[in-house]
């Protein structure tokens, strides 16, 4: 890998993630609009929102950690995108592997938690406490899924996993139960209903976002695009055979994101303990059964 190639990857991998992520946000909002018998936002709406938020004339900060929290939240995802291989660009996926990636995905949460913490707003703190609890809930099935996949493909590197699936069959065919468990975990990871406890506007006024204005809010919007993209591409790489080109990868990723979204708007949110209960019951059970087959 020459330096120039690497530089290009460092720039383009997050950029592609951002652009695709914005389309996923648009898709999400369009799906919700259709279910609610509406038209929904125009095509460039996610971009308008982000530019508008970054273009705010004034914004408040509760201190340096508030700023750093947002930097960590966005930066953590930018780092994670480089660990997530896409067709033609592998980034440094060979140096980290899927365990490192799953740890990287916790850094934005921690960053946001720090930033929100300094806002000194209990709504935000409750939101973070719920978000971390939700992380505890969905990470258990998620890590089982990662374990199963890594064991099955005999590799912790996503490149290796994709190669295996390209040669053999897709993961979803070989490990259907694990794939279903993965979808559950995905729903929790995206924080959509019924696992939407940490935003909960009617209870804690959007929780972590309560004191976010201007570019701070913009950072969180950017983070959401990355989040959707990462979830979609990661799941597609683990179970849907990744892709040899963007033309084959992206439809899978969109499909993966569309599935949780279409059920999300049909449900209220669970309480925190029910989230843990549900996520530790069904997906973990499915994952363990599946692991019993794999091992």
């Amino acid at each position: 890998m020459n330096a120039l190639h690497l530089m290009a990857e460092l720039i383009f991998m997050p950029l592609i993630a951002f652009i695709v992520g914005m389309m996923m946000v648009l898709m999400m909002r369009k799906i919700s609009a259709r279910l609610q018998r509406r038209i929904g936002p125009p095509f460039f709406q996610p971009l308008y929102d982000i530019v508008k938020l970054y273009g705010k004339d004034t914004q408040i900060s509760h201190g340096l950690i508030h700023d750093i929290g947002i930097i960590m939240a966005v930066g953590g995802y930018i780092g994670a995108e480089i660990l997530l291989p896409v067709p033609g660009m592998e980034g440094i996926a060979a140096k980290g592997g899927v365990i490192t990636l799953s740890y990287f995905l916790m850094i934005p949460s921690l960053g946001m938690a720090l930033g929100v913490g300094q806002c000194a707003n209990p709504n935000g703190s409750i939101g973070i406490s719920r978000a971390l609890t939700a992380m505890l809930a969905y990470d258990i099935p998620f890590i089982l899924v990662v374990f199963g996949a890594a064991w099955h493909y005999q590799s912790t590197s996503l490149i290796g996993m994709i190669e295996y699936q390209q040669v053999h069959q897709w993961g979803i065919v070989e490990m259907p139960l694990l794939a279903i468990a993965g979808l559950f975990a995905l729903q929790g990871m995206l924080g959509k209903q019924p696992f939407e406890i940490y935003i909960a506007p009617a209870e804690i006024a959007t929780g972590p976002m309560v004191e976010m204005s201007g570019k701070y809010m913009g950072g969180l919007f950017v983070m959401q695009t990355f989040q959707l993209y990462t979830a979609g591409v990661l799941y597609a790489s683990l179970f849907l055979g990744g892709g040899t080109s963007f033309l084959t990868l992206l439809p899978k990723a969109f499909l993966v994101v569309a599935l949780p979204m279409s059920i999300a708007f049909m449900f209220p949110r669970y309480k925190t303990e029910d989230v843990i209960r549900i996520l530790w019951k069904w997906p973990v059970m499915l994952g363990l059964i599946s692991l019993a087959f794999i091992l």
Partner: protein
């Protein structure tokens, strides 16, 4: 606020902290506030804080003519304004000793029931939204809009119709109106299945709503809870049936009730009531064409109309519960005293505080919306 409010004070040793629900909060219905003292996520105590919508209605009405007041009464409860006009008109009629013509009474009944349909459709969405499900709100409000279209058709106003007047109603129904109404009722009934699947039998929603904010019947009676909230506790009390007004004693309808008194029972009662209202409206559609006659008993020149001395307590069943107007006249051209007894003044203050105590933070908004409290009735 005053500068002294910002001068730092030493905080006590308690680990409880405060959360402000409202006035600017999605978990509050309207411009109202609820201060919670929390320990973890358990509410230690809640304190209602009203007055954000206070306009001094009762004072305003003392300064306006009898007829002028009709313009402002509906504004006391925005989601369900029709019962306000009717109750006020009924009170004035009682003092005057006149009675609205029978056709006007049927039209009033129709207006009240339509308003109830609209209010309940609005409530479902609000209740569901507090648990994080927004789709019923989008559906419910859009369907309510169709009801408002009918209001506009026969009264001229979408929300505030100001259609009643002491002695009757202002205008005759437009042609083909009953056909439109019938079509709307068909449409609403066709949506029943969708709403049931989406909301009333949604497993997650049922799990959230069951047991949330449960009142026993004796607690409800002690707190003067009325309307659907009381019926959800098992007491089939309805002003329409027990203190009949207008033509309700000629109509056939059931009084739905539930046993458990929790949020789920309350929303189920409202759902059933919605369909009972549709049933009543169907009967009205059937019988109204055969009832001919005037729509208004003539009253003197309203600009110099001195209502004779007396007092009246008029009660109607609004979508929230028992609504009453106590009107006192000293024989002048303006009311001497008007007292509005909104059902929410019982639900939104004492009952809410009572139910919030010991509840979970997750449930507070749901409790408030499931009580269907309407803050302007508290503030007036």
């Amino acid at each position: 606020m005053r500068p002294e409010n910002y001068q730092a004070v030493k905080l006590g040793d308690s680990n409880e902290y405060e959360i402000f629900i409202g006035p600017n909060h999605p978990g509050i219905e309207g411009n109202y506030a609820f201060r919670l003292m929390l320990d973890g996520d358990i509410v230690v105590s809640g304190k209602a804080d009203a007055g954000y919508l206070h306009r001094g209605f009762e004072k305003l009405m003392e300064g306006r003519l009898w007829i002028q007041n009709l313009a402002i009464v509906p504004r006391i409860c925005v989601p369900d304004p029709a019962p306000m006009e009717v109750a006020y008109s009924m009170a004035v009629e009682e003092i005057m000793g006149i009675e609205a013509p029978i056709r006007a009474q049927w039209i009033r009944t129709m207006q009240l029931e339509l308003s109830r349909v609209a209010a309940h459709l609005f409530t479902f969405g609000g209740h569901a939204a507090t648990t994080g499900m927004y789709t019923p709100m989008f559906w419910g409000v859009a369907d309510r809009d169709l009801v408002l279209d009918l209001f506009e058709d026969f009264t001229g106003g979408r929300v505030y119709s100001i259609y009643n007047i002491p002695g009757g109603v202002r205008r005759e129904l437009p042609p083909e109106f009953l056909q439109k109404l019938s079509n709307l009722l068909d449409y609403l009934e066709s949506r029943q299945n969708d709403y049931d699947n989406l909301l009333f039998t949604n497993q997650v929603f049922v799990e959230r709503a069951k047991g949330c904010g449960a009142l026993t019947q004796s607690q409800a009676l002690e707190l003067s809870v009325t309307g659907p909230n009381l019926r959800a506790c098992g007491l089939a009390y309805d002003v329409r049936r027990d203190d009949p007004y207008l033509v309700y004693d000629e109509l056939e309808f059931d009084i739905p009730r539930q046993k458990h008194g929790d949020a789920y029972s309350r929303i189920l009662v409202r759902r059933d009531e919605l369909f009972q209202s549709i049933r009543i409206l169907r009967q009205i559609i059937e019988r109204l064409p055969s009832i001919k006659g005037k729509i208004r008993t003539p009253i003197p020149n309203p600009l110099s109309w001195n209502v004779r001395k007396g007092e009246a307590y008029a009660r109607v069943e609004s979508s929230k519960g028992e609504l009453a107007y106590y009107v006192v006249s000293d024989g002048g051209d303006k009311p001497y005293r008007v007292h509005v007894r909104g059902p929410s003044s019982m639900h939104a203050v004492q009952t809410l505080e009572f139910l919030a105590k010991g509840a979970r933070l997750e449930d507070v908004a749901q409790i408030m919306f499931s009580l269907d409290a309407c803050p302007p009735e508290v503030d007036r």
